[in-house]
């Protein structure tokens, strides 16, 4: 088995035992990127020289017996939305095409302190708005399982680089499903932590009450390893939770006794692809065979989740993205001619700069949010959505009195074709049906492979748990992965 086919956990063992060096490992992944990424397009930027220099430094420290961080020598890919002083942070937007952050995000700082080798920056939907990575201003990312299909999004590059064997670990962000949905469509593991579990300091904001950073990996163990590295309280993020972080990798092998799995009646309504439904129902049977009890539950307000989300997220986005004014950083309109004589030249500069710097989906969401927040509509839309949000959360609180985990599809269908939904924003938004609720309610959720469609596309299983129950979530997901072999199925067509 080649190095890049092994799990991060196995690779870390090989590194620690001195069987392989970080330079050798990093070079193997750089070779994979060189061979495959011209087709897939997962990475926006690679700095091979810097990655190898860092790997060499870690190897030297390891040889001389110096203390090393938790991920010492493992390559990690980072979504291009987390600030890193050593590279640009573009959010796949023309607006930030040349932006060099003056500080590291807490997640990047933690990865550096853990001696990870930051191998490259991954593509995404512009400002994390989208579900296909087609909204990147710079390039399209293709699904490694079928190059005609989208990898999902917004963390499409983050999922595709792991699926394509170009990185063992990868960091994504999830505001309405942006880690779990691409993980599901690319056949990898992706976890959205509880809101506040991971610091958002230095994460370029989309919707601040929903955004969360999380891991993507080949296995649940690898996801646990990356999560325990990046999680924890951060005084620089006042919404981060001041609670201890369990060592997830220490308990992940312990199966859950008396596990109660909830199956949501509303999740198996019309619109669910029959192959996806049967893969998810089979996964639930696997849990039964492992001794879990399965209980049907109801989340009566879940049908309003997408509508609620598409009021709250754009409202927060329109407010957050007001900072892009062409003054402090970001794109500025080059001419100061005044197309609108009724407007002063500063306002006109703002308008032209923003219209040139933002792509169509970002403009659409800013407009939607500005509309929902504007006088006369605030109560009917924004305030109403915040109330329905509470009802959605209360449904989960009731459900988690009866069950430990909720099992569901990640998406209603396997990966869609590139361009298929591009002209139909509402259909693209509805892809988020199964994932947005976790963000609205602040719950942790994980997506993991649970089968393949007849055309060979991966199908994802989503598990959700109550806030801060990542340990239960990971142990539950790991039980399933140990009992099945979906994650070991390799990509043939790209070899």
């Amino acid at each position: 088995m080649s190095l890049t086919e092994q799990s991060a956990t196995e690779l870390l063992q090989l590194l620690n035992q001195g069987e392989i060096s970080s330079v050798e490992l990093t070079q193997s992944y750089l070779d994979q990127i060189e061979a495959k990424d011209s087709q897939i397009g997962a990475f926006l930027r690679i700095d091979a020289k810097a990655a190898l220099a860092r790997a060499a430094d870690i190897d030297t420290r390891r040889q001389s017996g110096k203390p090393l961080g938790k991920l010492a020598g493992l390559p990690v890919a980072v979504k291009d939305v987390l600030c890193d002083t050593e590279t640009k942070t573009t959010c796949a937007s023309r607006m930030l095409e040349n932006f060099r952050p003056p500080y590291d995000s807490t997640v990047v700082a933690k990865l550096k302190a853990a001696d990870a080798v930051l191998i490259g920056r991954t593509n995404m939907d512009e400002f994390a708005m989208g579900g296909s990575t087609e909204n990147s201003a710079f390039q399209i990312t293709r699904n490694p399982w079928d190059l005609e299909r989208a990898p999902g999004g917004s963390s499409g590059g983050a999922a595709a680089c792991v699926a394509g064997g170009m990185a063992p670990l990868s960091i994504g962000t999830d505001t309405g499903g942006s880690i779990r949905q691409p993980a599901g469509l690319c056949g990898v593991v992706g976890l959205k932590p509880t809101y506040g579990r991971v610091s958002r300091y230095g994460l370029v904001a989309f919707a601040s009450s929903l955004d969360q950073v999380g891991p993507l990996a080949n296995t649940t163990e690898d996801a646990a390893l990356l999560l325990e590295t990046i999680a924890g309280h951060d005084p620089l993020d006042s919404t981060s939770l001041d609670v201890p972080v369990p060592e997830y990798t220490a308990t992940i092998n312990r199966p859950l006794e008396g596990l109660r799995i909830g199956v949501v009646r509303e999740h198996f309504a019309t619109g669910l692809d029959p192959e996806v439904e049967s893969a998810v129902r089979d996964a639930i049977k696997v849990y039964e065979s492992l001794g879990a009890t399965v209980k049907e539950i109801s989340l009566p307000h879940s049908k309003y989740a997408v509508a609620t989300y598409y009021v709250i997220a754009p409202s927060e986005a329109s407010s957050n993205l007001a900072r892009y004014d062409g003054v402090h950083f970001g794109h500025r309109h080059s001419q100061l001619s005044v197309p609108d004589p009724t407007s002063n030249s500063l306002v006109e500069m703002y308008r032209c700069s923003r219209s040139e710097g933002f792509g169509p989906e970002v403009k659409r969401r800013i407009m939607l949010g500005a509309y929902a927040l504007s006088a006369g509509y605030y109560d009917a839309y924004y305030l109403k959505a915040l109330k329905v949000r509470r009802l959605i959360r209360q449904d989960f609180d009731t459900a988690f009195e009866q069950v430990d985990l909720i099992a569901s599809p990640v998406t209603a269908e396997p990966a869609f074709k590139i361009g298929q939904l591009a002209d139909d924003p509402l259909s693209m938004y509805l892809v988020d049906l199964y994932t947005v609720s976790a963000n609205l309610a602040g719950l942790p959720g994980v997506s993991l492979p649970c089968g393949f469609s007849s055309s060979g596309l991966p199908i994802g299983l989503q598990l959700q748990a109550k806030p801060l129950a990542e340990e239960t979530l990971l142990r539950g997901a790991h039980m399933y992965q140990k009992a099945t072999d979906w994650q070991s199925r390799k990509l043939d067509q790209l070899k």
Partner: protein, 96 residues
Amino acid sequence: MAITRADVEKVARLARLRLSEDELTSLTNELSQIVTYVDQLAEVDTDAVEPMTHAIELHNVFADDVVRPSLPREQALANAPSHNDQAYLVPPVLGD
């Protein structure tokens, strides 16, 4: 609810965007479609429900009131499209 082209133009001004004629046309249709979908929220009874602004409802978080170094001016200006080493440069703020 149907959104008119005039609504879209007004919101574009509020959002500090300058939209082309084509963008105004497509956004009028798309926003109408999305807002019509979102209108289903009206059927939910929320009379006795408090709005939920955050996923995890937090108590107030205070920072110690101490002076700390801030971003050096050079770094703060480094990404600015236009500056004179002292300050950001902008077009005239007041109309002529």
